[in-house]
């Protein structure tokens, strides 16, 4: 830059406090805002618990009289469905992660954040991830508790850990996707449309409601590629007391998949999506 006016280095403003302290302060403040909103407008949380609950109770009852031995391992349909609904809960919760960000974009609140000297603008994204993670896990735990009360089982201590790790990986991946959409799409109408359209097909084309063996070949392939399936099967195995990461949890058309592979796929998906949306976030937030 060949500016005529001499440039004063920002160091002249005095030493900057630690980056970690500042990032923590701004991220916690932004996360707190989202939780205050939730506390005063709890309908999202309530709907997020009610919807899967209805699935669990009504859909579970729909096939309650399925002949014994129909499902692999002789599971009752309710026990089979539990894992699917838990994953679906976390998934739909995370899919909504972009909505608060989209509203902030539309109403100009984001500009208020961008004019402030945030140490890192990742704080804005980080706050959303924290909020959605906690909320999705709370919803999932509520569904797990209800499922346990309905007699659909409980995974036990180590099993619970496996369930939570699986859900976390899925939530990270879907949150990244949703935040990316929140910055890529022009408005909340479009975002809601995408969420609406993505929700049910992903549920049906997964092993949430029926095992792969029930599906025609083409749907089986789709379900065996659907990330939801990679979250559902390890959780289903954990509910069945199968806690080994090397145990095969899915007989996909292209080969046998272990629980460990499922987790790796989810982790890779989350990492890949965050890398993918990064340039978009950098551009929109710079």
């Amino acid at each position: 830059m060949t500016s005529a006016i001499p440039t004063l280095p920002s160091a002249a403003l005095g030493p900057e406090p630690s980056a970690l302290a500042e990032i923590t302060q701004e991220t916690l403040a932004l996360t707190r805002r989202l939780f205050v909103q939730l506390q005063r407008r709890p309908s999202t949380l309530v709907a997020g618990v009610l919807q899967p609950l209805i699935w669990l109770v009504l859909f579970g009852a729909l096939f309650a009289k399925a002949p014994a031995g129909l499902l692999p391992g002789g599971l009752s349909y309710g026990r089979f469905l539990g894992a699917g609904v838990i994953v679906f809960t976390a998934f739909s919760g995370a899919l909504n992660a972009g909505l608060p960000v989209m509203f902030d974009r539309e109403f100009g609140f984001l500009n208020r954040l961008l004019v402030a000297p945030l140490r890192s603008r990742s704080s804005i994204v980080l706050a959303s991830v924290l909020y959605i993670t906690v909320m999705s896990l709370v919803q999932s735990l509520a569904i797990m508790a209800t499922a346990a009360l309905l007699g659909y089982g409980w995974p036990g201590g180590t099993g619970l850990l496996l369930v939570l790790v699986t859900l976390l990986l899925l939530v990270f991946a879907v949150t990244a996707l949703s935040l990316g959409l929140a910055f890529a799409l022009p408005g909340h109408i479009e975002l809601i449309a995408v969420i609406f359209v993505a929700n049910l097909p992903l549920l049906f084309a997964s092993t949430a409601l029926a095992p792969l063996s029930f599906m025609p070949g083409w749907l089986g392939w789709l379900a065996a590629l659907n990330p939801l399936t990679f979250a559902i099967e390890p959780i289903r195995a954990a509910y069945a007391g199968q806690l080994s990461l090397t145990a095969v949890v899915l007989e996909a058309p292209y080969g046998s998949i272990t629980a460990g592979t499922c987790l790796l796929v989810l982790a890779a998906l989350a990492a890949g999506l965050f890398l993918l949306i990064r340039p978009l976030l950098d551009r929109k937030l710079s």
């Binding site: 830059m1 500016s3 005529a4 006016i5 001499p6 440039t7 004063l8 920002s10 403003l13 406090p17 500042e22 302060q25 701004e26 916690l28 403040a29 932004l30 707190r32 805002r33 205050v36 909103q37 005063r40 407008r41 974009r105 539309e106 109403f107 100009g108 609140f109 984001l110 500009n111 208020r112 954040l113 961008l114 004019v115 402030a116 000297p117 945030l118 140490r119 910055f183 929109k284 937030l285």
Partner: protein
């Protein structure tokens, strides 16, 4: 002895600029659809001034302020605040300035106090200092009765005061306000004017945009007139008015004259030395508007009219106003400029421009 006048201390008093905008260009959209918002804007805001940016809607005021506040990147040009290059070190500049945007974006679910607390954390204020500072601002802006209520129920004036408090929370050296009193009730406007004057007196530099002449006239000690994305006149209001020279006189020989009579008076006046720009104002009963070069000319006029046996129903004399300055600089009144753009604005496109 020689050269004293130029090397004396008095000459060095000119204040260092706090804000320097150089050759700013900004275009929205592409091709024929595009709109040139800024076309080479230069602006220098001296430290400690209360600076008014005056111009009709669409003149580029908001775009210039958004670029200054690091919310928007210019296509070309340089931005310096306190010597810091805002394009190179935006975060250092953000720490120095408070920005009160035109469209107040607040979180309806939060209370005013919670919004201020959030704002404090975004500026990394120390917790103890933050609460004290919020208390000060609540008192200063008279927000105590409602600061703990949710923002969703606030009136326009309350919102604007809260937004001003947000902009002031971190004690910025520069406060930037985009149309701070548009659509406000008189009471809120007066309150905000008072606070701005006080801030300026305490050493904060204030830069505000407005399309209200009286606001800039009442507040600003410096002003720039923007037209089509450029500064076309700048200086103190007094200097700008003084540069126009002469007094404005409105003369009526009777309450409602005829065109013939007005024409006769016009010819008479045009013959007087020291009289300029005699215009017949048909809309006001054929009164006459003219500029006189100095005080004495008016007495001369009265004598001439008496000699011609013409009565004087009313004669009003005034210093040139900012409106006259604007008229002189742009060739039209600010109100005409406003009307010209009133129908050509696209709120949807403007919202999109500000959306990230």
């Amino acid at each position: 002895m020689h050269g004293q006048a130029h090397s004396g201390e008095g000459e060095q008093r000119s204040v260092a600029p706090l804000v320097e905008l150089r050759g700013l260009r900004k275009r929205y959209g592409r091709g024929n659809q595009g709109v040139e918002a800024l076309s080479g804007l230069d602006l220098t805001v001296p430290a400690g001034s209360l600076y008014g940016l005056l111009g009709p809607n669409g003149a580029g005021k908001t775009t210039a302020l958004r670029i200054l506040c690091t919310l928007l990147a210019p296509d070309a040009g340089a931005v310096q605040v306190a010597g810091i290059d805002a394009l190179q070190e935006p975060r250092a500049v953000r720490r120095l300035l408070g920005y009160v945007a035109q469209e107040v974006a607040i979180d309806k679910i939060l209370t005013g106090r919670e919004l201020l607390e959030l704002q404090g954390d975004l500026y990394h204020l120390d917790r103890g200092d933050r609460q004290g500072r919020i208390g000060e601002l609540v008192d200063l802006l008279g927000m105590a009765p409602w600061i703990d209520r949710r923002c969703g129920g606030y009136s326009g004036g309350m919102r604007r005061r809260l937004d001003l408090a947000c902009g002031l929370l971190h004690r910025p050296r520069l406060l930037v306000l985009d149309e701070p009193t548009v659509g406000l009730d008189i009471e809120s406007r007066t309150a905000i004017w008072g606070v701005l004057r006080q801030l300026c007196a305490e050493g904060t530099t204030v830069l505000l945009s407005s399309h209200y002449l009286e606001e800039v006239d009442a507040l600003a000690d410096h002003l720039a007139i923007l037209e089509a994305g450029r500064v076309i006149a700048e200086g103190s209001p007094a200097a700008l008015k003084g540069a126009l020279g002469g007094d404005r006189v409105t003369l009526r020989v009777r309450e409602f004259s005829t065109p013939e009579e007005a024409g006769r008076v016009q010819r008479l006046l045009e013959g007087c030395p020291g009289v300029r720009q005699v215009v017949v104002n048909q809309a006001q009963g054929y009164s006459l508007n003219l500029v006189v070069e100095h005080e004495g000319v008016v007495e001369q006029l009265r004598r001439q009219l008496a000699d011609a046996e013409l009565p004087v129903f009313a004669l009003a004399q005034s210093r040139p106003s900012l409106d006259d300055v604007y008229l002189q600089a742009t060739g039209r009144t600010l109100m005409d400029a406003e009307l010209a753009v009133a129908g050509s604005r696209d709120p949807k496109a403007e919202r999109k421009q500000s959306m990230r």
